[in-house]
């Protein structure tokens, strides 16, 4: 009996001790300043070079640092770089790293890490590959100095290093940067303002970051991704909610502080809440892409592609995808609207009135004779599904096209669009996707506008004149020359029709203004530094 009592007493003591410890740790957790955010997607891969998904860029921005960054006006500013010089022939750049740069494991950031990282990134990113194709050598001169020698005076080196959106050129440790770029890295050790908590990572649910206390921010005030990355919270939790309604409810109830991508349907409800602020950067937004397959009839003939301009009505898509007129832009610029390269040169057939007879005439001249046009319709995507429905309706309304609409999930579309076979043997004619305005604002990073034949994006447009103009744009020494070349590029694009851009709409971020402050306005890949918990 005594033994049993002793055992019971011991169990009680252990239980009390455990409870006290649990209570203590809960109290400590409660005192921590925790920023809870729901982003547009879940962090499932940890290597920002392995994938071009924007969420990987957001994850990368938390833990890695960059040589240069874009400020709120999208101008490149030094970040890890302290000073740099450019030779007179604009071919040799010498960079010096700033003091105090340290990885999360305590080791200093050296030029060797930078060189290895840039080499790895340059094998995967489109703009990076372009830069590397003009790179003669990239060498570490000493621990803090590295030299980038170009074979030609490529004018976009600094802009490319400051790129944002997807595939940002982050600096990793040399050990990770030496991993094959087509293989995912295993260790996640950056030198950025936050550290990744691997032990708390639950893919599909939660990703946790904590403040890196040894991070030395720049002295300049934060602006976009540039300036001082001053972390004002102890911990950031990205909570993944696949249901937009739940995310919206969680924000309304104050369970989360920040919602990156609220569904357009919920914006009036969120906007009516005095504690919630909606914020959108002028250059933020998505551009819809109606991709045509240039390999097979009818769209292997330029007249059939041009005919689409007389059928597709831009405004219909906007009203379906983003009903709020404040978030719509009736944009006829291949490089997006509200950005430096905006131009509508050559867009008259598209922006003018719809003309089905003219379209039918052009299709006939292209040799179209009622053959089925295979459309890959992704039914599980928030804006691609309604955009497909609008397009199908418009094409049917034209009255002379024979549509073969194949409904499938987005996962099937991404596999099927890579097939070059004729549509009857598993290929395709049309699919819809989108890109960010930020990506499309630069003819080099704008993957889907490239017309490099076999090397081009899905649809494989082919036009050497356009590619030469793109190259010329990349070498342009100043903004005015680039703008002039953008006009030429636009005219040629409207003539050759690599794809049809069907809308531009903006997605605001929503956050609890009664719970947080200091949210930085950026067009893409939102930073979590500078945010203060009230």
């Amino acid at each position: 009996m005594l033994t049993r009592m002793r055992r019971s007493g011991l169990r009680l003591a252990v239980a009390l001790l455990t409870a006290t410890m649990a209570f203590g740790s809960l109290q400590a957790l409660a005192q921590e300043k925790v920023l809870r955010a729901v982003m547009h997607a879940d962090v499932r891969t940890l290597d920002p070079f392995w994938t071009t998904q924007t969420i990987a860029g957001i994850h990368g921005l938390m833990i890695y640092d960059t040589l240069f960054s874009s400020d709120a006006e999208l101008q490149p500013q030094p970040q890890m770089v302290d000073t740099w010089t450019v030779s007179d022939d604009r071919k040799t750049y010498t960079f010096m790293l700033r003091d105090g740069l340290k990885f999360h494991d305590g080791t200093p950031v050296t030029s060797k890490d930078v060189v290895a990282s840039m080499n790895r990134w340059g094998k995967r990113d489109g703009a990076g590959k372009q830069l590397m194709s003009y790179t003669k050598s990239l060498t570490a001169k000493d621990d803090k100095t590295f030299e980038w020698v170009l074979s030609e005076p490529y004018g976009l080196l600094i802009d490319t290093l400051a790129k944002t959106g997807t595939s940002i050129p982050f600096v990793m440790r040399e050990a990770e940067a030496m991993v094959d770029p087509f293989e995912q890295i295993k260790e996640v050790v950056g030198s950025g303002p936050f550290m990744f908590k691997r032990d708390e990572w639950v893919p599909g649910n939660k990703t946790v970051y904590v403040k890196f206390k040894d991070y030395v921010p720049r002295k300049e005030p934060a602006s976009g991704h540039a300036g001082g990355k001053v972390v004002k919270v102890d911990r950031v939790e990205f909570i993944w909610m696949s249901d937009p309604q739940t995310a919206q409810s969680a924000l309304m109830a104050g369970e989360i502080d920040y919602l990156e991508n609220p569904k357009p349907d919920f914006l009036p409800l969120l906007g009516a809440n005095p504690d919630i602020k909606l914020e959108v950067h002028p250059a933020a937004g998505t551009m819809g892409i109606l991709q045509l397959n240039h390999l097979h009839p009818p769209f292997n003939n330029v007249k059939a592609r041009q005919a689409m301009y007389y059928i597709i009505n831009n405004a219909d898509y906007l009203n379906t995808i983003a009903a709020d007129p404040n978030l719509q832009t009736l944009c006829y610029s291949y490089f997006g609207c509200g950005v430096a390269m905006e131009t509508t040169a050559g867009s008259e057939p598209y922006s003018g009135p719809k003309d089905y007879k003219k379209a039918e005439q052009l299709f006939k001249e292209a040799g179209y004779n009622g053959e089925p046009i295979t459309i890959l319709h992704a039914t599980d995507h928030a804006y691609i599904n309604p955009a497909n429905l609008v397009m199908i309706q418009q094409l049917r309304k034209a009255g002379f096209l024979n549509l073969d609409v194949q409904a499938m999930d987005w996962g099937s579309v991404v596999a099927r669009r890579a097939k070059k076979e004729v549509p009857a043997e598993g290929g395709w004619n049309i699919f819809i996707t989108g890109t960010t305005v930020l990506t499309s604002s630069n003819p080099i990073t704008h993957t889907s506008i490239g017309m490099g034949c076999d090397k081009a994006w899905f649809g494989w447009p082919c036009d050497s004149v356009f590619e030469d103009l793109r190259k010329e744009w990349a070498f342009a020494p100043d903004l005015d020359t680039r703008k002039r070349l953008a006009v030429e590029l636009s005219k040629r694009a409207y003539d050759q029709v690599p794809y049809i851009s069907f809308a531009q709409w903006r997605n605001p971020v929503a956050y609890r203004s009664d719970m947080i402050s200091g949210v930085l306005s950026v067009p893409s890949v939102p930073p979590m530094w500078n945010i203060e918990k009230k």
């Binding site: 891969t45 071009t52 599909g204 649910n205 409810s249 890579a418 993957t447 994006w457």
Partner: protein, 313 residues
């Protein structure tokens, strides 16, 4: 009995082999390409090809199947293509929320449904019966996500009694877990309450017309005694079967409830993996679900001997 259990367990081996083969073929013959999903929308076709090669997805299908079977024989369910984490780690992360949600739902459902079914059978063809059956029809007919949203609106947004979403693990305290699981358990419990109540009523009605019930009544046994002691135990076999099937369904596939309430359970893990074509996760989970199904069915069959001593194996 022991020989029966051993026989049943041995019979699971060919079942699991067929499941493994079927899942592998189904996934690999379905259109979709994890390499394309990983590489992202801005990736070039050459980049996607590079990722596919590194993941070994360009190898012949028989070679991929061979690797999969060899790993299975070693007890290795594989590694997620996307997160690089072992499938077992991902399952362990999701097991507690799924089990807690399943058990809570069944507790809610059984506590409400069995008395409802018994009373409906006792008061058959009266107003009480019709109300209970009306509730059952409603429970089936109203989609679980609609009930979920309504519960969230009333109890989380308006009254602020309970959280909108998320799961708090037991390590943070039972009270926190209960708070986080209450609304999903009620939303999901409505369907199972409806199902179990209907089965209980039907089964009870059949038993209540038996001679031994008439005998019990003639001997002067009070109504509660007749209902609970004589009728319910004999009506239990179909009820237990439904509860068992419900348990396996709850563990493996309550995707809508998990999504609406943001519960990181196995159902969401499965659907996300299917949409992303994360083959190892889907394969591993289907095999695990098949094993759970087989095990639960065995337990149900064994439980029959407790409720009906005439059943012997």
């Amino acid at each position: 009995m022991t020989a029966y259990i051993v026989r049943r367990l041995l019979a699971t081996i060919p079942v699991m082999i067929v499941v493994a083969l079927f899942v592998f073929l189904l996934l690999h013959l379905t259109p979709g390409d994890p390499a394309a999903v990983i590489a992202g929308d801005d990736a070039s076709p050459a980049d996607i090809e590079g990722v596919r090669r590194k993941l070994g997805l360009d190898r012949p299908i028989w070679e991929q199947f061979g690797i999969y079977v060899m790993n299975l024989l070693r007890g290795d369910l594989g590694t997620s293509i996307f997160s690089n984490l072992p499938v077992m780690t991902l399952v362990k992360q999701r097991l507690e929320p799924s089990l807690v949600l399943a058990v809570s739902t069944l507790v809610v459902a059984i506590t409400v449904a069995i008395p409802m079914g018994v009373i409906a059978a006792w008061k058959a063809r009266t107003l009480v019966d019709r109300v209970v059956m009306g509730f059952s029809v409603l429970g089936f007919a109203v989609p679980v996500f609609l009930v979920g949203y309504l519960l969230i609106y009333v109890f989380a947004i308006e009254l602020r009694w309970l959280p909108v979403q998320g799961y708090k693990p037991l390590s943070q305290g039972v009270w926190q877990t209960l708070r986080s699981i209450t609304l999903p358990a009620i939303a999901l419990g409505m369907v199972y309450t409806a199902l179990i109540a209907r089965i209980t009523r039907a089964s009870m009605l059949e038993v209540l017309s038996e001679d031994y019930i008439r005998t019990a009544r003639a001997k002067g046994v009070a109504t509660p005694g007749v209902l609970l002691h004589h009728a319910l135990k004999n009506a239990a076999v179909p009820i237990v079967t439904v509860i068992g099937i419900g348990l396996t369904l709850l563990i493996s596939g309550v995707v809508l409830t998990e999504t609406v309430f943001n519960i990181p359970g196995l159902g969401r893990l499965t659907v996300d993996a299917i949409l992303k074509r994360d083959y190892p996760i889907v394969q591993g989970l289907i095999i695990l679900f098949a094993a759970v199904k087989v095990l639960v069915n065995l337990l149900i069959d064994i439980s029959y001997t407790f409720f009906d001593p005439r059943i012997r194996y």
